[in-house]
């Protein structure tokens, strides 16, 4: 099976952490907070769209609010496939790191 890319992994983890409040701005902020690298909203949207096409996330349209220029939020949730993909990613990482010392300095 296909392993999640790092970017997708970051994205899905952010959505997972946000729970019911995962939409464009909150996801972007969450990613920024975790990685220290702010994500542009346009790029984020493209990633979300692809993840949606792959069936990793589901969409729900919220109500439009005046602060947003009358445009509604779209909330994202992980689908069962999304959960599974994250699980696999974790397994994969673990397998990759297994048996290596905590600090790599000891090896060099």
């Amino acid at each position: 099976m296909e392993v999640l890319s790092r970017t997708d992994e970051i994205l899905l983890l952010a959505i997972l952490r946000l729970g019911d409040d995962a939409y464009g701005v909150s996801i972007a902020k969450e990613i920024g907070r975790r990685t220290g690298k702010p994500m542009k909203l346009g790029a984020l949207w493209v990633l979300l769209d692809i993840a949606h096409q792959k069936g990793l996330v589901s969409k729900r349209t919220g109500d439009p609010t005046p602060q947003r220029g009358g445009r509604s939020k779209i909330f994202y949730r992980l689908t069962p496939e999304g959960y599974e993909a994250l699980e696999n990613a974790r397994e994969f990482s673990r397998a990759l790191w297994q048996g290596l010392p905590q600090s790599l300095k000891d090896l060099s």
Partner: protein
């Protein structure tokens, strides 16, 4: 700035985002950005927020653009597929649409190339915008309906160059057409010019060999075109070689120039130095009152032609006197207008009529419009079939914009296919068209990005135009209505459709009528009694000295053959030998002066050409005084004098003083039927009589080249041509034998008119074809729409004939209306053309009715196929389906 609410994002950035983002993105991404923007603005200030917003938008643009482009292609592919399906399903209508448009587009390409060529004349000169020809408006003379003359006097050029500060340079040209050039054994008649020494610097004709500064500096210098150099010297180096001109003058080749391009009003095979002229023509001097040269000036950059005109007049007044300057006023004709300046006398170039070029462009555009109309008509008429599709599409959620786009894609596909087909058509007809109009038109759009863009633009424009109406019309219906009814909503479109059909037929009728009027006039020209007999007459221009001296011997030799019915030496009825001032006294004793045309003939002229003698007697060798002492006048000359009794009167022209009028001949057309018959005088040709005494007294100019005219007995043409050639060759010293038949020369006078007629016929045929295609298509739909009505009528006992009537009546009504619109247009259009002929047939009402009937017949023909089919169908089959 202040008025904006604090939370507002930068407008421009927002606009950009809206432009590229599709609807879902707009709702979410733009919303996200706004929300975040407001937060940043609150915490860190507007300035930071704005910069942030811009950063966000710019980063988002490339990806969004790529996505939107991707979806657009997906949609386009889908639209193209459904358009292609529809075209394949409806093969006949696709053919009508594509074929019609292709014909229209091919017409447009053809005319585009033609017009482009015609308007490109003389523009290749580096200073084309600053070069003018000096021409004259003569207030004392009018020739062939115009008092404008293309020729000017010899000293004018130098005087203008020196005395007009605006004139940077001036140069002169003399026409040296039909000159015999010989180099060794190689002898050719060639058309050339004599030109001032700065000719190759003044104009942009390329000198490929020789010295640009010196090539035309000395007398007897000669520059040859590359083609002529090859003809005369083969692959040898022509520079420094000797060429003999007209058997008299030896010239030295000092240069070789590139062949003159086709879109130049100046066409020449050789250029002779102007300094040679005094040696070869008597009037090559420096007189201010002799006009036979072409003068060109180049103005300084920024100088206005209007400012120069009065100064030119002042220059003429200073040298030639006030009187001359007022009689013949010089003015400037732009170089690039010369090709269209067709009302000048003595122009050496073949001109074109600007109105004609414009008319042809207009016709081409009309044919294209007709084809577009067909497309629109068929597309809207097919609404009934397409409506279900449209309805379903709307029900499943297609927006109006989608439908419009879908129809536009469809019509663009059709226009694109038509464009391809039209290029094929163009390639097929271009060689024939070129031969016909005598132009070297070539279609190479890939070599010319400009032309290619025009082409592509036209195709897109046609596609959009043709598709816009059906697209807007078809998409405007509500799905519920469409799906419920089975053909009702066609009504609103019917009126537009009918108007379009009327327009199509009106255009066709105008063209049919014009063709008819041209054809009738040309038949009139062919059949009109010209006052002389032009059949079976061979003419030989005599320029050769040896032949000229022995014309009597040649005549005697020819007459010995039984195949020769007669020989006349001197003018033919188609050659007058120049006009001169005629003087005489009217019945009231007052002196009468007018311009009279002169022909020098021999004793056999009247008999050989069948010219009628109305009064008096012909010239006769029994009256020795006829030689130089007697003349014949035509009726127009007698009318000009106002004489009741012309015989025995005395008249004088410059060469013949106080000659007696011994006879009056019937007016005959010595020019084409475009011109009125002018007064003419016939006198004995001294050369032809063999008398020597007065021969030297009369100064023969180049107009006075005599002809040998031979009347050939029926069926003996080849034998006589061979005989004349043999006899000619036995006397000739230099000039090769050349001959023409008189009726061919006559036909040549109307060559342009025949071309005009044929082009009209071509376009008329095409427009009728396109209009009939449209009619055919529409009839098919009417039949389809009325199928139920027809079936019920048939069940109730209607005959096939009455059904056919029912279906055709509708169309005939529009054809009648089209006639009413077309008639006055055609009348006004053709009146101007027919006016070019002084002798013409009136435009008759019968022709109009005929053209109308023809259009109706074409329409009926197009409709009848469909109506016949409808009338024959078994009603049960149709009704069962309902």
């Amino acid at each position: 700035m202040r008025k904006r609410s604090p939370g507002a994002a930068p407008r421009l950035a927002r606009l950009l985002l809206d432009l590229v983002a599709r609807s879902e993105e707009k709702r979410t991404v733009a919303g996200d950005m706004d929300e975040w923007f407001a937060e940043i603005a609150r915490l860190k200030g507007r300035r930071r927020a704005r910069r942030w917003y811009w950063g966000q938008v710019v980063a988002a643009l490339p990806e969004f653009l790529r996505l939107s482009f991707y979806w657009r292609t997906v949609m386009l592919k889908n639209d193209l597929r459904s358009a292609g399906r529809d075209l394949r399903r409806q093969k006949m209508f696709s053919f009508i649409k594509i074929g019609g448009l292709a014909v229209g587009l091919a017409c447009v390409w053809l005319i585009l190339l033609y017009v482009r060529f015609e308007t490109s004349f003389d523009r290749f000169h580096a200073d084309a915008g600053r070069i003018y020809r000096v021409v004259l408006e003569d207030h004392e003379n009018t020739l062939r309906k115009s008092n404008k003359f293309a020729v000017t006097c010899p000293p004018l050029a130098a005087a203008l160059e020196e005395e007009c500060p605006e004139v940077e340079a001036a140069t002169r040209i003399d026409d040296r057409a039909d000159t015999l050039l010989r180099a060794g054994e190689s002898v050719h008649y060639e058309d050339g010019i004599a030109a001032d020494e700065d000719f190759f610097r003044f104009f942009s004709f390329a000198l490929v060999r020789g010295d640009l500064e010196r090539a035309l500096a000395e007398p007897y210098d000669l520059v040859l075109s590359e083609t002529l150099a090859r003809k005369l010297f083969g692959s040898d180096d022509p520079l420094g070689r000797t060429v003999n001109m007209n058997g008299t003058t030896d010239l030295k080749v000092t240069g070789v120039c590139r062949d003159a391009v086709e879109n130049s009003h100046l066409r020449f095979d050789f250029v002779l130095s102007f300094a040679t002229l005094p040696a070869i023509r008597e009037d090559g001097g420096n007189k201010w009152n002799s006009h036979s040269f072409y003068t060109y000036v180049k103005l300084r950059p920024g100088a206005a032609a209007a400012a120069v005109t009065p100064k030119m007049k002042a220059v003429v007044a200073a040298h030639a006197g006030e009187k001359e300057a007022n009689a013949r006023v010089p003015f400037l004709l732009p170089l690039t207008d010369i090709h269209f300046a067709n009302d000048f006398n003595f122009g050496m170039e073949a001109t074109n009529d600007r109105r004609l070029v414009m008319l042809f462009s207009l016709i081409a555009v009309f044919i294209l419009v007709l084809a577009c109309i067909n497309y629109m008509n068929l597309a809207t008429a097919r609404f009934v079939q397409r409506s279900k599709e449209v309805g379903i599409r709307r029900v499943v959620g297609a927006e109006r914009g989608h439908l419009i786009r879908q129809f536009l894609v469809e019509s663009l596909l059709v226009s694109g296919l038509s464009a391809l087909l039209s290029l094929g058509l163009l390639a097929a007809v271009l060689p024939a068209f070129n031969r016909f109009v005598g132009r070297p038109l070539a279609f190479r759009p890939l070599d010319e990005p400009g032309l290619f863009l025009i082409l592509a633009g036209a195709v897109v424009l046609v596609g959009l135009l043709a598709g816009s109406y059906p697209a807007v019309f078809l998409s405007s219906f509500r799905p519920g209505r469409i799906l419920k009814s089975s053909g009702g909503p066609g009504f609103a479109a019917a009126r537009v459709r009918n108007a379009l059909v009327v327009f199509q037929f009106a255009v066709s009728i105008v063209l049919i009528l014009s063709t008819g009027i041209v054809a009738r006039q040309l038949r009139y020209v062919r059949t009109k009694d010209l006052g002389y007999d032009r059949e079976q007459v061979l003419t030989v221009r005599v320029r050769d000295e040896g032949v000229r001296k022995n014309m009597q011997e040649i005549k005697t030799a020819l007459l010995r053959s039984p195949d020769v019915a007669g020989v006349s030496l001197g003018a033919t009825p188609m050659d007058t030998q120049g006009g001169s001032g005629m003087r005489g006294y009217g019945d009231d004793g007052a002196e009468v002066k007018f311009t009279c045309w002169t022909s020098y003939i021999d004793y056999d002229f009247l008999k050989l050409f069948g010219v009628k003698l109305l009064q008096g007697r012909p010239f006769s060798s029994e009256h020795p005084t006829d030689l130089g002492g007697a003349v014949l006048l035509n009726e127009a000359a007698v009318r000009a004098f106002g004489w009741k009794e012309p015989l025995g009167r005395e008249v004088s022209i410059s060469e013949i003083k106080n000659a007696k009028v011994v006879g009056v001949v019937g007016d005959y057309h010595f020019w084409s039927l475009h011109q009125k018959i002018e007064p003419m005088l016939l006198a004995l040709n001294l050369d032809s009589t063999g008398a020597d005494g007065l021969l030297r007294a009369i100064n023969f100019t180049r107009y006075r080249v005599p002809f040998i005219s031979v009347k050939i007995a029926a069926g003996r043409v080849p034998a006589v041509v061979a005989l004349v050639r043999k006899t000619y060759d036995s006397f000739k010293t230099l000039h090769p034998f050349q001959y023409e038949f008189l009726d061919d020369r006559f036909d040549r006078l109307y060559r342009n008119d025949r071309k005009f007629g044929a082009i009209f016929a071509l376009f008329a045929g095409l427009s009728v074809f396109v209009a009939c295609l449209g009619m055919f298509g529409l009839a098919a739909f009417t039949a389809e729409q009325k199928a139920r009505e027809v079936s019920i009528r048939k069940v109730l006992g209607a005959t096939a004939a009455s059904i056919a009537g029912l279906l055709s009546r509708h169309f005939l009504r529009w054809v009648v209306l089209a006639n009413i619109i077309a008639w006055p247009v055609a009348y006004l259009l053709m009146r101007t053309w027919v006016k070019d002929f002084y002798y013409r047939v009136p435009i008759s009402a019968g022709l109009f009715v005929l053209a109308g009937a023809a259009a109706a017949a074409f329409a009926l023909m197009a409709v009848s196929v469909q109506t016949a089919k409808a009338a024959r169908t078994n009603p049960a089959e149709r009704l069962r389906r309902e």
